[in-house]
């Protein structure tokens, strides 16, 4: 990767030289180039990629929508709304028993002034559920990626660094874990969790841990491959010659040089895991009622009345999943192109 950095530097100077404005405006071109670190060059190339910028914007807005807006929004994800039978006005607090008897659930209200996206089958506010559902999706994505990175980097790093029998044992472990069929395993895990009577609110944490324990293999493979090729490089031989401790070799030289690849994989995995979480929640394996998740919100489509007459209930969470995953893929792809020294963009 050090070679790559040199290549990056080379490209940047060529790029600078080819770009007329910077060529004429800057008084001292050479000096200007010196201050452009590899990270800055990656950022420049990333920003030039339109799709990547669009993706980043979507993700920032989505994070605000899911984590910021609920602080100011008046409704909660689990609050159930009622309608007065006679007047049709909405009731949130019952001031008398008579009124309580006179009320009906405000189910499947069309989008309107009080509820921007309407209400669902249970009489809950759709917009609030969309926000809290997004929280779950984003949180699951990040936590699973962190777990898989920690396990993958440690085990992949060990396998690549020590080689020999450590490598053989760890790679067999990687093969074993990647041979476990994912979906059927999740079904078993979920039925286990139900038997042990884990509450629907906590179920998702167990699901996250299981997902993390299953998905680290690709990270481990990537880190191992990178480290194996880095070990052959000349600067690593130089580092060996200075006699620094193995731990420092790993943390100071090897891991930072695999970082660009890791970031790309992590970003693309985020999108993939959100997709998987929503699929699990759709099947009822992930987040359970009454808590919202984009996946279990779409699952209300099984009701034919909702499918036909209330597209606001199932299309909006579906679109949210699509947009978020798409944005992660845009960003991941943009990062890959930006960190790839072969790309000249």
């Amino acid at each position: 990767m050090n070679d790559n950095n040199d290549m990056l530097a080379g490209f940047a100077s060529v790029e600078e030289a080819l770009e007329p404005e910077s060529f004429y405006e800057e008084e001292d071109v050479a000096e200007h180039q010196l201050f452009l670190t590899p990270a800055q060059m990656i950022i420049r190339r990333f920003v030039r990629n339109k799709l990547a910028v669009v993706g980043t914007t979507i993700l920032v807005l989505m994070a605000l929508f899911c984590f910021g807006v609920p602080l100011f929004y008046e409704y909660n994800q689990t609050e159930i709304f009622y309608l007065d039978k006679d007047t049709g006005e909405e009731i949130r607090t019952f001031d008398s028993e008579e009124r309580m008897l006179n009320s009906i659930l405000a189910v499947m209200q069309p989008p309107g002034k009080q509820h921007i996206l309407g209400t669902n089958k249970m009489g809950q506010d759709m917009l609030a559920r969309l926000m809290y559902g997004g929280r779950i999706s984003l949180m699951v994505g990040f936590i699973v990626v962190i777990i898989e990175l920690v396990i993958g980097v440690i085990l992949g790093g060990l396998a690549g660094y020590y080689r020999g029998w450590v490598d053989i044992v760890l790679m067999r472990l990687v093969e074993i874990v990647s041979a476990i069929p994912f979906m059927p395993l999740m079904l078993i895990v979920s039925s286990l969790l139900i038997v042990v009577k884990i509450s629907p609110a906590n179920k998702i944490y167990y699901v996250m841990i299981v997902l993390g324990l299953l998905f680290w293999t690709s990270v481990a493979r990537l880190v191992r491959g990178n480290i194996l090729s880095l070990r052959e490089s000349e600067y690593m031989q130089a580092a060996d010659a200075t006699g620094i401790r193995p731990w420092h070799k790993i943390t100071r030289h090897l891991i930072p040089n695999t970082l660009p690849n890791l970031i790309v994989t992590a970003t693309l995995d985020l999108g993939y895991i959100i997709l998987i979480e929503s699929t699990l929640s759709f099947l009822g394996v992930g987040v359970g009622v009454p808590y919202a998740s984009w996946g279990n919100m779409v699952s209300e489509v099984a009701d034919s009345i909702i499918m036909r007459q209330h597209p606001n209930i199932w299309i909006s969470p579906g679109l949210c999943i699509l947009i978020t995953v798409l944005a992660f893929n845009f960003v991941g792809d943009g990062l890959r192109d930006a960190t790839d020294p072969k790309m000249k963009r």
Partner: protein, 325 residues
């Protein structure tokens, strides 16, 4: 070559034993075991009877003895009796495998038939409008949740929408077919259009992406430049010289997609009421049918390992360099 295959085979056996041990451990983790689950509705059963049943099922043994017994019967393809279907697990899997396999196989053919040519096209016309359209298609394919897409198609083409296509089951229940006729085939085809469309659109993206990326790499390599410099026609350069090298990683991907032919998209089968292995497994899940799920899991793990093995061997066949290491 023989040595290479033997080594890979041995490794596969080790991996298979590892996976089965992990899965067995998982089934032993269940606090309410198989016996408690099956007998919980019967009031008359006593603790002694339960213990006897546990002895029968080998649940009273230590982990290793239990695993060894389980392993011995698993080799004879005996995974016990499914709680939901009250038939041997192997029999249940066998009975619904054909449907799943045929649908997945047809879908895979379409995916490859669309993915490879379009991927090559995108790589050849890189950074043009064609490439951008195909890239957009890739992004949508890998980002679209299949259940959402399936629901949209169902709403659009089904009974509540345009009412063009049937959206449930495999055959029209109102018609009784005598033997296998063209009419029946047509009925099957009509029922399968939407499910296969879901498979193809959500699965095609990765094939396209893979082909495009690898093809771009081969087209930029030195030997392709040499071929062009020698004046070989562009068609030959692309499809013979460059594509051959792209084919190597594609072979690996094909091997890896073997288990997906049998795993059955649980969601798609569920949504469209297809009586395949995916919906069967989901039904088993809903009723906590652990023996079935375990058998199904082992079956898929076995297929995954066979898939790895096949792709490794094919890789060695097409790329002789691999055999040496």
């Amino acid at each position: 070559m023989r040595q290479y295959i033997t080594r890979r085979l041995l490794i596969s056996i080790i991996v298979l034993i590892g996976v089965s041990m992990m899965l067995y451990a998982l089934s032993r983790l269940i606090p309410a075991d198989y016996v408690t689950l099956t007998t919980s509705t019967q009031a008359k059963i006593t603790e002694e009877m339960k213990d006897h049943l546990r002895d029968l099922y080998g649940l009273n043994t230590s982990f290793l003895t239990g695993y060894w017994n389980w392993f011995k019967s698993a080799i004879r393809l005996d995974f016990g009796v499914s709680l939901t279907y009250a038939r041997p697990v192997t029999e249940v899997i066998g009975s619904c495998m054909a449907v799943t396999f045929s649908i997945a196989f047809i879908a895979l053919l379409f995916e490859v038939a669309i993915g490879l040519p379009l991927g090559i096209l995108a790589a050849r016309k890189r950074n043009t409008k064609t490439d951008y359209i195909i890239t957009a298609f890739i992004f949508i394919g890998i980002s679209l949740p299949s259940f959402f897409f399936a629901a949209m198609l169902k709403r659009l083409f089904g009974f509540y929408g345009l009412n063009l296509l049937p959206t449930s089951g495999l055959l029209n229940p109102r018609i009784l077919y005598d033997g296998f006729t063209l009419e029946k085939l047509k009925d099957y085809a009509q029922h399968l259009i939407i499910p296969i469309l879901v498979f193809v659109l959500t699965g095609c993206g990765s094939w396209l992406r893979f082909t495009r990326a690898n093809m771009i790499e081969s087209l930029e390599s030195d030997y392709v430049r040499t071929a062009r410099a020698k004046g070989i026609p562009e068609r030959r350069v692309v499809y013979t010289h460059a594509f051959r090298n792209t084919l190597i990683p594609i072979v690996t991907l094909l091997g890896a997609s073997l288990p997906s032919l049998f795993s059955g998209a649980i969601i798609t089968e569920q949504l469209f009421g297809i009586p395949g292995i995916g919906s069967t497994a989901f039904k088993a899940y809903e009723l906590s049918d652990v023996p079935f799920l375990m058998g199904f899991n082992v079956f898929l793990a076995f297929l995954t390992i066979v898939g790895f093995l096949i792709s490794d061997i094919l890789y060695a066949v097409v790329d002789p360099r691999v055999r040496l290491s």
